[in-house]
Symmetry: C2
Subunit: 151 residues, 2 copies
C-alpha cells in the first residue's frame, strides 16, 4: 500500500488556501515526517537525531554551531541531540581544530553502520512520498526547493 492509493483530493482543495505555498509545505512536510519517524523507529532514531547522525557521517566535520544553523535548530537543541547519540556510542565530540570552543561531531563506526541502514530506509520513504511524481519532476522539485533556500 503506497501513499497515493489513499490520496483523495479533498473538497477543500478548491479553496484559495490550497495554493498557499505555506500550507502545501506544511502538509507535505507533516506527511513526510510521519513516514520518516515511523521508518526510523526501528533504528531508535527520529528525524532530528537522524539528521545529526547523517551530517556526522558526511565527512564535512560539522561543528555544533554549523549543525544548528543548517538544521534550523537552536544550538541548545543540538546539545541534547548530540548527547543522546553520544550516549548510544553513535557519535563523539572532538575539539575544534583552530578554535578550542568549537566541538566537531563525528560518527563512530557503529554510527556509520546505523546510518547506512537508516538512510536506505529514508530514501525509500522519500520515494514513496513522491510516488505521484515522475523522476524528472522529483528532481525539479528538489532543485526548486534548493534554489528557494539558497538562491
Amino acid at each position: 500500500m503506497s501513499v497515493q492509493d489513499e490520496a483523495v483530493v479533498p473538497r477543500l482543495a478548491e479553496a484559495a488556501i490550497a495554493d498557499d505555498v505555506g500550507l502545501l509545505l506544511a502538509k507535505l512536510h507533516a506527511a513526510g515526517s510521519v513516514l520518516n519517524n515511523k521508518a526510523l523507529a526501528e533504528f531508535g532514531l527520529r528525524e532530528r537525531s537522524y539528521s545529526v547522525l547523517r551530517l556526522a557521517c558526511s565527512g564535512l566535520e560539522p561543528t555544533q554551531r554549523e549543525l544548528a544553523e543548517f538544521l534550523s535548530l537552536d544550538p541548545s537543541q543540538i546539545v541534547a541531540l548530540v548527547d543522546e547519540l553520544e550516549g548510544r556510542g553513535l557519535v563523539y565530540r572532538e575539539q575544534g581544530r583552530t578554535d578550542r570552543r568549537q566541538k566537531i561531531v563525528l560518527a563512530t563506526p557503529e554510527g556509520e553502520r546505523l546510518h547506512a541502514g537508516a538512510s536506505a530506509a529514508i530514501a525509500a520513504c522519500e520515494h514513496e512520498q513522491l510516488a505521484a511524481l515522475t523522476d524528472a519532476e522529483a528532481a525539479t522539485l528538489r532543485k526548486l526547493l534548493r534554489k528557494a533556500l539558497w538562491a
Copy 2:
C-alpha cells in the same frame, strides 16, 4: 531587506542530506512559518488560526472535521482554534445542514475584513520567500507540491 540578501549557501549544503526532500521541506517550511507568524502578529493571528479563518472565508462551508483533515490537525486542535476565533467574533459555528453532529465554521463580516488584510500580508511573505524563483518556477513548485499531495 529581502530574504535572499542574507541567503548564503552554507558549507554543509554539500552534504548528501541537502538533497533529502524531508530536510528541504522542513527548512523552507520553518523559514516560511517565521515570516508568516511575524506578519500575522499585527492581526492577532498565527498560521493555524489564519488557516481556519481563511477556510471559513472560502465559501465552502467547511465542517470542523474537514478543517482537521485538510489542515493535517487533530479535530481537538480545531476546537481550540475555532473557540479562539469565535471568542473574538471572527467566526461562528452553524449546525450541519444534513447531519446535526457537524458544525460548519463560517466567518463574520469582521472575520472577512481581518482575513482580507491578513491574506494580503501572507501573499507578500510568500513572494518574499520565493524571491529567488522566477514566477514560472514558483508556479511549477506549487504544481509539484499539489501533485505530490493529491496525485
